[in-house]
Symmetry: C2
Subunit: 202 residues, 2 copies
DNA sequence: CAATTGGCATACGATGCGTATGTGAATAGG
DNA sequence: CCTATTCACATACGCATCGTATGCCAATTG
């Protein structure tokens, strides 16, 4: 019987990540007491330090998990759109939709950068940008996107605009209406990447 | 002699703000000990609590000061460009340049949002966005910018892209070269706001 | 079955925070 | 000019949280 041991360990890690994710996503990283949320998982800080080194290490694990989930959702969008460009646009709007969740805003956009620094430097947490970069690269090779721009750079800039878009919608009095306005402006900005004439010809 | 009293008070406030700004901008908000940086200003936490209520209140004051300085620099750029659109673009690139400073990245883009929430909701700290919004509104009325988009929304999205642009340049191995690439991509995105044909006719 | 690993808890010291309270100097009123 | 009061700021205390050092028990290994 080799499994129970390994299973229990994995379960402990998962419980810690889940408990921390709940705490970080609601009251925030700084306000989350390690004693409190480890206790809510039926554990102590001893387990936390053993598995993740410190509070920042646990945050990294939480972020890696969320990033993975976001990447899955981004990739699920695939191939429903009539053109590759439209597909890319859909990907972006999906990203904005995900970014509407308070947990994602708090952990990925606010506390994460404050504690771990520039998100672009995070290990194991750039799946979404990677996906967008790939698509931009393809679109550029196909002649849909203007040749001058660096795909990864563009993906990063779009990411920044996306997160602002999501925050604006989420903090609005009328999210439904604001969403229309914001997404329209966002798509307009994306138009800047298109070659003049014939975006829908590919 | 009514002055010395008021002057001393103002000086105390200024010293606290300056000391906090240095601490927040270098080691970061969370790591900055109130005992330490008040002492470095020749004061104690008593003065801090008296004037600013708590650590967050002091951060708000620091942010208001930085925002004011950024707005001044943005407005100084005025009227050097041949067209109003070019003027707006220059404003954006100036914003990116300012955002290259580690102190601004740390306080305005990372710690600030984590501690005080969405920057769009900050009181007394939206001068830059306000300025950009005004220019976009004018440009739209003049027919340079496409009519559909909401100016403030667009300004916010551009702001998000700008901060990403700055972070990418600042964290690059070769900031000079990266700056060219990033600014080029950024300007390309801005093109999306222009009406087709004749951007330089106004 | 004995030895050892390691997953996790407990205990301790240190640090930083918020509040309550104290103090001395500057102002205002008579 | 003298007294009372305000108020800017310091000091003192208790509490929460963190990191580390240590201990224990179950599970694996040979």
């Amino acid at each position: 019987m080799h499994r129970p041991r390994k299973e229990m360990i994995a379960e402990t890690r998962a419980k810690l990540i889940t408990a921390a994710r709940n705490a970080f996503g609601t009251i925030g990283y700084a306000e989350a007491s390690m004693d409190d949320f480890t206790a809510s998982a039926g554990l102590t800080r001893g387990a936390l330090y053993h598995h993740f080194g410190d509070k920042k290490g646990l945050l990294q694990a939480v972020i890696a998990e969320i990033d993975g989930e976001m990447a899955v959702r981004i990739n699920e969008i695939a191939s429903k759109a009539p053109t590759r460009w439209q597909h890319f646009v859909d990907e972006c709007t999906t990203y904005i939709e995900m970014a509407l969740e308070p947990e994602i805003q708090r952990i990925m956009f606010r506390d994460g950068p404050a504690v771990l620094g520039d998100p672009a430097q995070w290990p194991n947490a750039n799946a979404c940008v990677g996906s967008m970069t790939d698509h931009l690269t393809s679109l550029q090779q196909e002649g849909v996107v203007v040749p001058g721009v660096d795909p990864e750079t563009a993906a990063r800039l779009i990411n920044g605009a996306s997160s602002q878009a999501a925050q604006r919608i989420a903090n609005s009095n009328d999210p439904e209406a604001t969403s229309k306005t914001v997404v329209a402006a966002f798509k307009q900005l994306l138009e800047g990447l298109l070659k003049k004439q014939g975006p829908q010809s590919v």
